[in-house]
Amino acid sequence: MHKKLVEIKNLKTYFFVEDTEKQKSLHLEISDPVLMELYKTDKYLKNKVPAKAVDDVSFDIYEGEVLGIVGESGSGKSVTAYSITRLIPDPPGKIVSGEVFFKGKDLLKISFEEMKKYRGNEISMIFQEPMTSLNPVMKIGDQILEAILNHEEISKEEAEKKAIEMLTLVGISSPEKRMKDYPHQFSGGMRQRVMIAMALALHPSLLIADEPTTALDVTIQAQILELMLRLKREREESAILLITHNLGVVAETCDRVIVMYGGKIQEISEVDPLFEKPLHPYTVGLLSSLPNPDLPMEELKAIPGNIPHILELPKACKFNTRCTKAFDKCFEVEPELLEVEKNRFVRCHLYESEK
C-alpha cells in the first residue's frame, strides 16, 4: 500500500448547544478530563451540553486512494471532513481533542494563518450545493482567478491561462467566453464542474468531496464522478475523501469505505469485502434495505426504528436501539473498533471472540 497522506487520531468534534435541563446532570456524566478542563476554563460553555458529532474517530488516508465515508444524517461524516480543514464554526463547534497529521504536520496545532496555506494548496473541498457555493454576483472567471491568485504568486495573465486550462479539463466548452458569465447562466452540473475546476486548479494532494453529486441528476452524476476519478488517476499521489450517503456511488468509486453511525466509526473495510460480506449489523441493515433488482416487488428489509437525536444517543453501543442482534452487553459496554481481518475493522461485540 501507498504512504499515509493523512493520519487522524482520536478526533473529537463537539457542538455545544444550550440545554439548561440537561446541564444540571451533566457534571456527573463527564469523565473526559479534557472536556472537564474545558468546562472549567470556558465561560461560554455555561448552560450548554456537548452534542458529540464526531466522537473519538481515528483513521488514515493513503496516497492514491479514494476513501469513502458513508452514513446517514447526523452520523458525523461531514463534520469529520470539515474538522480536517478546520472549517468548524466556533462557536458552537469545537474540536475538543485529537490530532490530524497531514504529511507529518499536525493541522490542529498550527495557527489559523498557517492553516490558510494548506487550504486550497494542499487540501481542497467540493461542497454539496453547487447552487450556493459560488458567489452569484461575481463572474465565474473572476472566482477561479481569485482562488488561484490567493494561493500562487503568478501574474494575472498566467492565472487566466491556468483557469481556462482547468475549465477545458472539466469539459466546459468555449471556456474563454464562459469565464465572463455569471453562475446563474450555468446549469447545476456545470456549476459543480466549475467547483471541481477551482478545487483542482492548485493541484491539492487531498480533495474532500462532500456529497458532490447529491443535488444532480444521475446522468450528470455519472459525468462528474468520472471526471473526478479521471483527474485523480492523472495525479497518482493525490487522494480523494468522498462523503456520501449513496451506496451505489461508493461501490463504483471508492477503494476503501468507512461506515459511520452516531458520531463513531462502525466499520472500516476495503470496498469489495464490505459489499460482499458486511460485518457490522448497521452495515448489514443498510445494504439489505436497498431495493434488489433481482427480487422486485419483494418487501424491503428496512432497519427498524428511527435515527436517535444527537443529544439522545444511547449509552454503550450507539446502534443498540435499532440493532436486531443486540444482547445485554451491547447496552452496558461500548464496543471497541477491532481489526477482525486484515485491513478490516468493526465496532461490535459480536466479533470480539474472533479476535
Binding site: A251, L300, N306
Partner: protein, 335 residues
C-alpha cells in the same frame, strides 16, 4: 374509458408563459409537457422518470389540477379523464369549486416532509383537515378516523396532539401519507416521497406505501428521484425527456432492457451498489439537457443522442410498439 383504467390522459400539454421586456409581456412560452397521452390502470403503480426539468412533476400537478388554480396564465390543454363513483369526468374542464368536490378521490404526497406540514397545526388537525372539506363526518367520527389512520401508518393514536417538529423526517412523511389517505382516495400522486429521507428510513416508507396500496386499493403515480427505487415499486415505467415520452412499458422490461437511446443512457448511469459491476458498460451523455425554451427541432433528444442521424431534425418520432405493451419513440431502434 377503458374499464381497466382509473385515469386516462389524452394529449396533455402544459405551457408556462415567459414574460420579459419593459412591460413584462409574454415573450415566449415553455412547453413543460408537450402532448403526452397515458393511462393509469386500477391498482397499478406508474413510475415517471426523467432528469430535472423533463416535466414529470408538472404532469403530477396537472393531473391533480392545482396548476391551473395556483398560477394564472398557465395553459393546460388536453383531457384528463378520471373514473369516479359518479361516472367519468374530465378534470381539465372543471371549475375550481367543482374540482374541490373531486379532490378527495385524488391526493398527493409531497417531497419535503419538513415544509409540507403546517408547523402550527397539531398532527391530529393536519390529518383531520381534509375530512372537514371532503366528508360529512362529525367530530367523534373524525377523531376516530385520525386515530385509525395514525396506526395504519405506524404511528400511535396518542401522538395526534403533538406538533410536526416533534417528529423525525420519516415520521413526518408517515403523517403526510396519513393525510393523503384520510379521504379514501383512489389515486395518489407521490412526488419524490422518499428523496429527503435517509436510506434506512426510505425502505420503511416504501414498504408502508406498498402495503397501504394493497389495503386501500390505490393507484399510484410515482415520481421518484432515485431510479433504483422506481424499478422496485413500479408495475409500469414512463421515461420522459423535455416534455415528451421516450419510452413506456412494463417496469422490469424498461429497467433491464430499455429500448430508447435516452432510457439506455439514463438507466446505465444509475450507480449500482455492487463493486463487481464497477466496470459495467456505461453510456455517458455529453452535455446538459437543452433549455426547454428552445428545444431542438424534430426529436428533442437528438442533440445528445449517440445514434442521431441528420433526419432526426426533421420529424417528431411517435411512440411505436416495439414489443407487446412496450413503446419507444425512436424509429431506429428495436427490442
Amino acid at each position: 374509458m377503458n374499464p381497466e383504467n382509473i385515469l386516462e390522459i389524452k394529449d396533455l400539454k402544459v405551457k408556462f408563459p415567459v414574460s420579459g421586456g419593459l412591460f413584462l409581456r409574454k415573450v415566449a412560452e415553455v412547453k413543460a409537457v408537450d402532448g403526452v397521452s397515458f393511462e393509469l390502470r386500477k391498482g397499478e403503480t406508474l413510475g415517471l422518470v426523467g432528469e430535472s426539468g423533463c416535466g414529470k412533476s408538472t404532469i403530477g400537478k396537472a393531473v391533480i389540477n392545482i396548476l391551473k388554480f395556483s398560477s394564472h396564465d398557465v395553459e393546460i390543454e388536453g383531457e384528463i379523464w378520471m373514473r369516479t363513483d359518479a361516472g367519468e369526468i374530465d378534470l381539465n374542464k372543471l371549475s375550481r369549486s367543482e374540482m374541490r368536490k373531486h379532490r378527495g378521490n385524488i391526493q398527493m404526497i409531497f417531497q419535503d416532509p419538513y415544509s409540507s406540514l403546517n408547523a402550527r397545526m397539531s398532527v391530529g388537525q393536519i390529518i383531520e383537515e381534509p375530512l372537514l372539506y371532503h366528508t360529512n363526518m362529525n367530530k367523534k367520527e373524525r377523531e376516530d378516523r385520525v386515530a385509525w389512520l395514525l396506526e395504519k401508518v405506524g404511528l400511535q393514536a396518542e401522538q395526534s396532539k403533538r406538533y410536526p417538529h416533534e417528529f423525525s423526517g420519516g415520521q413526518r412523511q408517515r403523517i403526510g401519507i396519513a393525510r393523503a389517505l384520510s379521504t379514501n382516495p383512489k389515486i395518489i400522486i407521490a412526488d419524490e416521497p422518499v428523496s429527503a429521507l435517509d436510506v434506512s428510513i426510505q425502505a420503511q416508507v416504501i414498504n408502508l406505501l406498498q402495503n397501504l396500496q394493497e389495503e386501500f386499493d390505490l393507484s399510484l403515480l410515482f415520481i421518484p428521484h432515485d431510479l433504483s427505487v422506481v424499478e422496485h415499486i413500479s408495475s409500469r415505467i414512463v421515461v420522459m425527456y423535455l416534455g415528451k415520452f421516450c419510452e413506456v412499458g412494463e417496469g422490469y422490461r424498461v429497467y433491464h432492457h430499455p429500448i430508447h437511446p435516452y432510457s439506455k443512457a439514463l438507466l446505465s448511469a444509475v450507480p449500482v451498489p455492487n463493486p463487481k459491476l464497477k466496470n459495467k458498460e456505461r453510456i455517458i451523455l455529453k452535455g446538459d439537457v437543452p433549455s426547454p425554451m428552445n428545444k431542438p427541432s424534430g426529436c428533442v433528444f437528438r442533440t445528445r443522442c449517440p445514434i442521431a442521424k441528420p433526419e432526426c431534425a426533421d420529424f417528431i418520432p411517435p411512440l411505436e410498439e416495439k414489443e407487446p405493451d412496450h413503446y419507444a419513440a425512436c424509429p431506429y431502434v428495436s427490442a
